[in-house]
Amino acid sequence: MDIVYTIWLRNVKRYLRSKSRIVGSLGMPLFFMLVLGFGLNSIVRIPGMEEGYLEFIIPGIVAMSVLFTSVFSGIQIIWDKQFGFLKETLVAPVSRLEIMIGQTLGGATTAVIQGLILMVFALFIGLQPAGITGFLVAVGFMALIGVTFTAFGIAIASRMEDMHGFQLIMNFVIFPIFGLSGALFPINSLPGWLRPLTLADPLTYGVEGIRYGLSGTAQVHPLASLAVMAACAVLMTVAGAYLFRKIQT
């Protein structure tokens, strides 16, 4: 536990220290929230929902921010590799599993903080706080998304030599995961052929879970979302730990 905490602490310290990264990665989600939210608010009606489009996408954008931050945190291992710091960790008498779990929890923590900052912004543009329980449910789902995708980032980073492949992963894995999830549109309104893809996308359940927490309604039962997200978090952590065990400096 000490070791996990040590690694976690380093990740969180680095994150809190990099003001430009915090501000920088708020840019895109805020942009989405403002442009899509306000731009489409008056013309888009979500069937069967009271609130406008803006309220609808806030959980989706929070999930997006958590997704990007966590993948990025996981991938950062490549920098540790390039800057040599990874060697310092790997030569210590600690197990790779402890290192990996510390990294995962550290990445998930920073991702949740990032999501929380965004939620605070959202309060100013129309998010109606739905009570403390709902808020905690939302944070819980953010944490699960964070763990899943930090572990995913670590798995990728364990196999990559440098950052060249990063763009590829972003364009062909992360953006589709975001786009196919129900972050920007209700899953019921999808054409039939796209539905299976959306339902196979783990982020869909994360978004639905956060949405349930923040607005009290969701298209997927919250317990089903919880079961899927928790399973993904465990599976990704196992896969990440397996690949990280073989990492070469």
């Binding site: 040590t6 680095r14 390039q82 060697k87 310092e88 030569v91």
Partner: protein, 327 residues
């Protein structure tokens, strides 16, 4: 007890045999040097001994623990300063030390005390709360050495500890390394390109070339082993001089551009004879010098290169440059 015992240690990367069946042992409390040109396999050897890479074949023990089957015991008993920097630049010096101390499970009070002591020892106490990215190369190196000592290892690996440091800092570090060895009895294995460093610090030196140990002994014995004094003659016609000196007491001749290096025992007795012989053949002499062999001569003898040739190939400079650019 032997601090390190390597038996036929081998590491291949595909077709390339980086370390080719080397065997040696290092006694507890010894300072042992690995000296060799770029790509000789020094870092790879250290990587295997420090459990960072698995040997392709062969075995090694560190403090009695096998490097493959008892990884964790080896890791607990060693400290290492890698050739390339391995600090977190976004953390302060103190935080880097603290991270290390926690990884090695040193308790809070003890950890703070040792970090304070070590940072003072390497002269960084007053900069301990500055981010490492604001440090100079020498300060970083000193911090890494302090960090490697935090968990009081029995064996310390130093891979080119003074690379890129100014002479003053280098001297300072040498004194410090010698003191560590003296006062705490820490066994030290260091790799270096600096002859002077190996000569001054090491009890024994292994000269490594192309993955094998080509010579292993004390600096004194190594210098003896190459056949006495060194006479360097510069001349417009060095080849003819080399052909001329065939006497049995000449133990070695090397031709260079514009000069020839002759090795022989008791040079002072033979010099008059050599000069006369050259003179009689009508060959000119520009200059002639006699000196005791240095470690550089030993290196040249065993690896066929001078360390200067090697520096000229620029690998070291490129490496430093790449590192600087990454920051």
């Amino acid at each position: 007890m032997q601090a390190i015992d390597a038996r036929n240690l081998t590491k291949s990367f595909g077709d390339l045999v980086a370390v080719d069946g080397i065997s040696f042992s290092i006694a507890s409390g010894e300072i042992f040097g690995l000296l060799g040109p770029n790509g000789a396999g020094k870092t790879t050897t250290i990587s295997m001994l420090s459990t960072m890479q698995k040997p392709t074949s062969g075995t090694a023990t560190v403090n009695g623990h096998d490097v493959v089957t008892r990884e964790d015991d080896v890791r607990k008993s060693i400290g290492i300063v890698f050739q390339d920097q391995s600090l977190d630049e976004e953390l302060t010096a103190y935080e880097n030390m603290d991270f290390h101390g926690r990884l090695y499970r040193i308790g809070g009070e003890e950890r703070r005390r040792r970090i304070g002591e070590l940072l003072a020892l390497v002269g960084l106490a007053d900069r301990k709360d500055d981010l490492v990215k604001t440090y100079s190369g020498g300060m970083r190196r000193r911090l890494e050495i302090a960090r490697g000592l935090l968990h009081e290892p029995k064996v310390l690996f130093l891979d080119e500890p003074t690379l890129g440091l100014d002479p003053q800092t280098r001297n300072h570090l040498w004194e410090y390394i010698a003191r560590l060895n003296n006062e705490k009895g820490i066994t030290i294995i260091l790799t270096t390109h600096y002859m002077e460093e190996a000569d001054r610090l090491c009890d024994r030196i292994a000269i490594v070339d192309r993955g094998t140990i080509v010579a292993l002994d004390t600096a004194e014995n190594l210098k003896h082993s190459i056949g006495g004094d060194v006479v360097t003659i510069t001349s417009p016609d060095p080849d003819k001089i080399a052909d001329l000196l065939t006497a049995p007491w000449v133990s070695g001749i090397e031709r260079h551009d514009g000069s020839v290096t002759v090795r022989l025992q008791e040079a002072d007795r033979h010099i008059p004879g050599i000069v006369t012989a050259i003179h009689q053949s009508g060959i000119g002499i520009n200059s002639l010098s006699v000196r005791k062999p240095t470690l550089e001569d030993v290196f040249l003898h065993y690896t066929g290169k001078t360390i200067r040739d090697e520096e000229a190939d620029g690998k070291e400079t490129i490496r430093m440059f790449q590192r600087a650019r990454r920051r």
